[in-house]
Symmetry: C2
Subunit: 488 residues, 2 copies
Amino acid sequence: MITSIAQSPLFPIANPKSIAFFGASNNYAAMGSSILTTILTDGFEGSIYPVHPKEKTVLNLTAYADVSDLPEIPDMAFIVLPTKIVVQTLKACGERGIRHAVIVSAGFNEVGGEGIDLQKQLQQIADHYQIRFTGPNCIGVVNSHLRLNATFLPSKGKQGFIGMASQSGSFITQMFSFLDDRYGQGFSTGFSLGNEANIDMVDCIEYLGACPNTRVIGLYIESIRQGQKFIEMARRVSLVKPIVAFYAGGSETGRKACLSHTGSLSGPDHLYDGVFKQSGIIRAHSIEELFDFCYTLGSSPLPRGNRLIVQTHSGGPGAAAADACERTGLELPQLSSETLEKLAPFIPHTGSANNPIDLTYTKNPLDFFHGIPEVLLEEEGADGMLIYFLASAKMVRTALTGMGVPKEEIDTQIKNIIDAQCSAIASLVTTHGKPIVGFSFLTRENDFIAGLQDRGVPVLPSPERAARAFGAMVDYTRLRNKLTQQKV
Amino acid sequence: MITSIAQSPLFPIANPKSIAFFGASNNYAAMGSSILTTILTDGFEGSIYPVHPKEKTVLNLTAYADVSDLPEIPDMAFIVLPTKIVVQTLKACGERGIRHAVIVSAGFNEVGGEGIDLQKQLQQIADHYQIRFTGPNCIGVVNSHLRLNATFLPSKGKQGFIGMASQSGSFITQMFSFLDDRYGQGFSTGFSLGNEANIDMVDCIEYLGACPNTRVIGLYIESIRQGQKFIEMARRVSLVKPIVAFYAGGSETGRKACLSHTGSLSGPDHLYDGVFKQSGIIRAHSIEELFDFCYTLGSSPLPRGNRLIVQTHSGGPGAAAADACERTGLELPQLSSETLEKLAPFIPHTGSANNPIDLTYTKNPLDFFHGIPEVLLEEEGADGMLIYFLASAKMVRTALTGMGVPKEEIDTQIKNIIDAQCSAIASLVTTHGKPIVGFSFLTRENDFIAGLQDRGVPVLPSPERAARAFGAMVDYTRLRNKLTQQKV
């Protein structure tokens, strides 16, 4: 396993100083133009050399008629050309001394027939010139920390901690909004793999394992091509950071769809369950879960075990969370008498100190964000918490208005209150080293939710998803402990 | 079963012309004040008579020192008083001739001890004066079509089609934003049941079954108190409109949480599974699913069977949808040769006419919204469709800019394009009578998603949730057919 991303064949692809771009023109509707537009608007600062047989400039960049005309040997070639001229282009790149490429063009193995032969030719050329490439039939590459977004949809520039390797480009380029809207997150680095004719998922796991901006690795899998290598690499990387995988080919119908999509041969569920277990990989059972798990695992300290306390203002969401916890294999222990004693002053007569701790209301709202969770995190019989967040800026506004706070001071006071409460929760996580996973039916449009998430406290959109994400952390702790013991 | 909501004891509670309000003051922090504020800001147009021993006005409304002073007998009393004076207040209401009430105050059966006795006293007074009431320990009542929101959080005023009866008030008042943000929906009418000392869930199902604004009924259940009555009522209503239930007490941990919350005795999962099946109720397994199912069932024509076609631009989301369909018991049939022939002109060489139909791209974007789904809805071997929506206003803007459309025309053109495309899909559903369920990782902030949803095409936030919502429609069709046959 590499110790630095610079040793990886993916390094020049994810961190290029210069790119030769094939397939962009001044026709905005073309896929190549669309990708180059994204690269430019997202703010990549390296050199880009469009190669175009006729145009003098492409999207206001100086264009070159032939790769041999380029003023330097670029770190990588980015190819979005019609299928029939991809092979000759890769060859020309090899002649020019280019050693890394991303091939977006489709029409290879995934369409069968002649495509299979064309893909073989790509591989032969790559071997001959020692070129390493991703694709063909991929969507590009993203490195948010370098502001490199070589895909056809603009990102929101969020520099995140989720490293992604995907056998569908959609789960890179179409997830920018999704990650930002739900979690205020983004990809650290994202690789779209396409047909994996040269670089494959094992290379990506190795790269992301060493990537300092990546705290957790997400995989979208339709088929694992090199089972043994995959398991060995994932086991090693899992010791360092969590890997979460979604597998789409487990059912008969899913398998057929994967075959149509990337020409890959998937295997049955139980086989992949075994592979994931051996690899120390957490399996997600939906796309939402894949990112819920990545987000939570990347945000939080790990729980030592599966015992947690649910804190809520509202009985229903508390009960739904409790029910979901048991279904996820989590335990809700009773509080020790010491904790109960410390908690008593905070609990009104309508509340309950059973677990879930249902306050029903708190006279001082800061108690909900500081005093109460502090007592609960000190409980030795618990490994972490779920907290239901209901507070909204609108409620604070109503309260302040009612208290007669002057209108011109209200916005500042709301901001201060939200800052104080969100910071209180975040610092409790740091000082106690136990995870708090929030859940709320509100979104990031609510400043409380954004405030918590932006301070590193994961907040998920339902009790069930919060419970399952907590469960994923417990699973990872167990898997890692097991792998560590086996290693020793 | 009633034939008109006017026959229900809940009618004056959900449709009051006048309310006696107990427990509001000029102290904004009090729960009663908070609820009365919501009633006023949400725009209720009936008469409100605050009753307060000292204040002359409450929140700018004329207040009355005693219920006997009111200028008329109001349709209902709304009580948010300290526990110890609730009994005497209900009695005074009875004396005054008030026959309906909502009791928000807590401290009854759910706290045990003296609370149990107090609740019995409420019941005796109600019996004596023939008062029907919801609660105690409930959160209020909502009728969006009357702009009545008697809960402590303001709604967004959305007049929706989901009728809700909930044993947790949170799933009424805290779901306004949730329903609006996700689906552009709201409650038609929402009842918070609390301890069900008088009116219970069976009454609510009956009311909502007859409610003309309610297309689908959602239930949050911690415990069913009158099993046989519940089953009989739900069976009858299920013939008319779908009922979806989430049950929180199925696990040991969930059961304990429900006991703390409302003092209710829940039963094991398998028992409730049986009750739901006998009742023709669709069971949801998470809060998100409860509302996904309600939203989809209320939006769409029902599928005749479980065979569907998945249409996508993107292989990965298509494969994930296909996989989820099989896991949900749905079938993806191969297309007939007739359909394949009609479809051929629309499919580029990189695309696939296997099911999922993966276009990869379409030269004319309107094809994706009209030409292609029209052909697919005509396929006799399929009962409906899932469609993946990726288009965003931003992409249309980029395309139009690229085509040289003048800046000042772009906004109008975008609006026209979105209108045309969303309307095209919506009218196909109407003309073909088959359901289309969309899925997208984008939210309603994207005008395409809002445009589809606002035209009645359900769009869900992931392939798995779309598949499961389609599955819920299939389940309801089957359950209803079975109940109809048994009835005959």
